[in-house]
């Protein structure tokens, strides 16, 4: 899989380097077992990449390497044609560089991770105010707009404790959007939600996908992936098994493991 492969599905054929990529990345937490053995995942602008795998396949670790929450043990992370880090030779990445990447790469977490001491508005405005250095009014205005776009304008002053799981995750998405990111990473965004709320959140994500936001989504929701993905990546045991256009992957996946993982649209993947 060469860096620079164009995206065939999105309608925007971009023949440049990837927007964001993890190249031959490996991660070991204890020096013995490798959560991520060697995985390559690159994302072009406009793509919606769904990463499918069983628990423990390394998909979350890979995602977290993309915004440097996790430091790879080996491999490279590239952002806009620039090699951000190259391990194991890499010394520490300058803090400013890490912050720059994270400002432009947003993440939505499985357990929402809203700041409990702030209202929904406070949560969403925090980044714009303190990272993007907007004025208080501008930050709040942007927060209000983003909350409105996810349908939660009325809940702006509520604390996370007063919100349902689905609402919390929508606030989390708003928080990510308020940073006007170039790409959003989703780490199993609906795995911690009850069934009814899953649809609520997936709806927002589908709308986002239609507006051409670049997204990488680790998920078990195969129906959803079928709907929105432009590309599907299957992972197992810390490696990428297969990586291809969504329509191909869902109809003719090549490896048996991929077939297992992608089989069955109506049921969620259980471990």
């Amino acid at each position: 899989m060469a860096v620079g492969m164009s995206s065939q599905e999105a309608g925007t054929v971009v023949n440049t380097g990837p927007l964001l990529g993890a190249i031959e990345v490996g991660k070991s937490f204890d020096g013995k077992t490798w959560a991520l053995a060697e995985a390559t995942l690159t994302v072009q602008p406009g793509e919606i990449v769904c990463v499918i795998g069983a628990n423990g396949s390394g998909k979350t670790t890979l995602l977290r390497c993309l915004n440097l929450l996790c430091t790879p043990s080996k491999g490279r992370i590239v952002f806009h044609d620039e090699v951000v880090g190259d391990w194991p030779a890499q010394a520490k990445i300058p803090a400013a560089k890490v912050r720059d990447v994270r400002t432009r790469v947003a993440m939505v977490f499985q357990h929402f991770e809203l700041f409990p001491h702030l209202s929904a508005m406070g949560n969403v405005a925090l980044g714009p105010r303190h990272v993007l250095k907007l004025s208080k009014q501008d930050a709040q205005q942007r927060a209000m707009e983003t909350l409105t776009s996810v349908g939660l304008a009325k809940f702006a002053n509520k604390r996370p404790g007063a919100l349902s799981g689905g609402q919390k995750q929508r606030v989390a998405i708003a928080r990510a959007l308020a940073m006007t990111p170039e790409i959003i990473l989703f780490d199993e965004p609906t795995s911690a939600l009850d069934r009814e709320m899953v649809e609520e959140v997936l709806g927002i994500m589908a709308t986002l996908a239609q507006s051409r936001m670049t997204m990488v989504i680790v998920t078990h929701e195969l129906n959803f992936a079928r709907q929105v993905a432009t590309r599907v990546v299957t992972m197992d045991q810390g490696r990428v098994i297969e990586d291809g256009p969504a329509d191909v992957m869902f109809t003719r996946p090549q490896s048996t493991r991929s077939q297992e993982l992608l089989r069955g649209g109506d049921s969620k993947l259980w471990q």
Binding site: L69, E113, L126
Partner: protein, 240 residues
Amino acid sequence: MLVEVGTMVGWAQTLWTGFVVTIELSAICSATTVLLASLIAVARIHPRPLVRGLADAYADVARSIPLLALLLFVYYGLGRVAQSYGISAFWLAVFAITVSEAAYLSEVYRAALQAVPAGQQEAAASLGLPWWRMVWLVIVPQAIAPSLPTTVNAVVGIVKGSSLASLIAISEATLAATNLVSETFQPMGVYLTLTLMYLVILIPLSLAGKALEFRFGAIRPADKSGRTRRRSLISVTPEV
């Protein structure tokens, strides 16, 4: 031993002047201790090992030296120098009590900071927040409520510690009592009155601390060496 209530009331009135100083001393020390302990606690979770090491070293050393020893050191060692600058012994006592008590309190504050779930750090980091802002905007606010009970208990400890200042000639309550004893030759009665007056101040405080503990839960340092699961909030955040 039977002392008339009237006499005790009279003594209490005499001792009250001393208590005013006790309250002053304790209030100032409480403020400075909370401040210093907060700074030390944040330093103990700083990404840079040097900062952490210095803060840890301060906490270890300051907790090992008895408060009375520190008071005497400061008094005899710096007393003359301080006087030449016009700094009274009162401030030497503030210094000693603060340095000593803050070491213990920083242990608890550090545990409270580390008790904030790691996911919060990650969410803040993924927004691009630098370390200081993450700590100030996200971590510290969530660590305040759980630390309140222990802070109240620390104030109780500070008031008790203030009685030691009597031994470096600070005119607080205990010294007032000692002087009164030398006038009345009734140590039992006077010291019991003194005890009762301390209890009047400290029992409500102590009960308030218990009530807060009930409401917010108590932070217990994970273990005395301070080695909890995460040694510092470092792995996900870039530095300042």
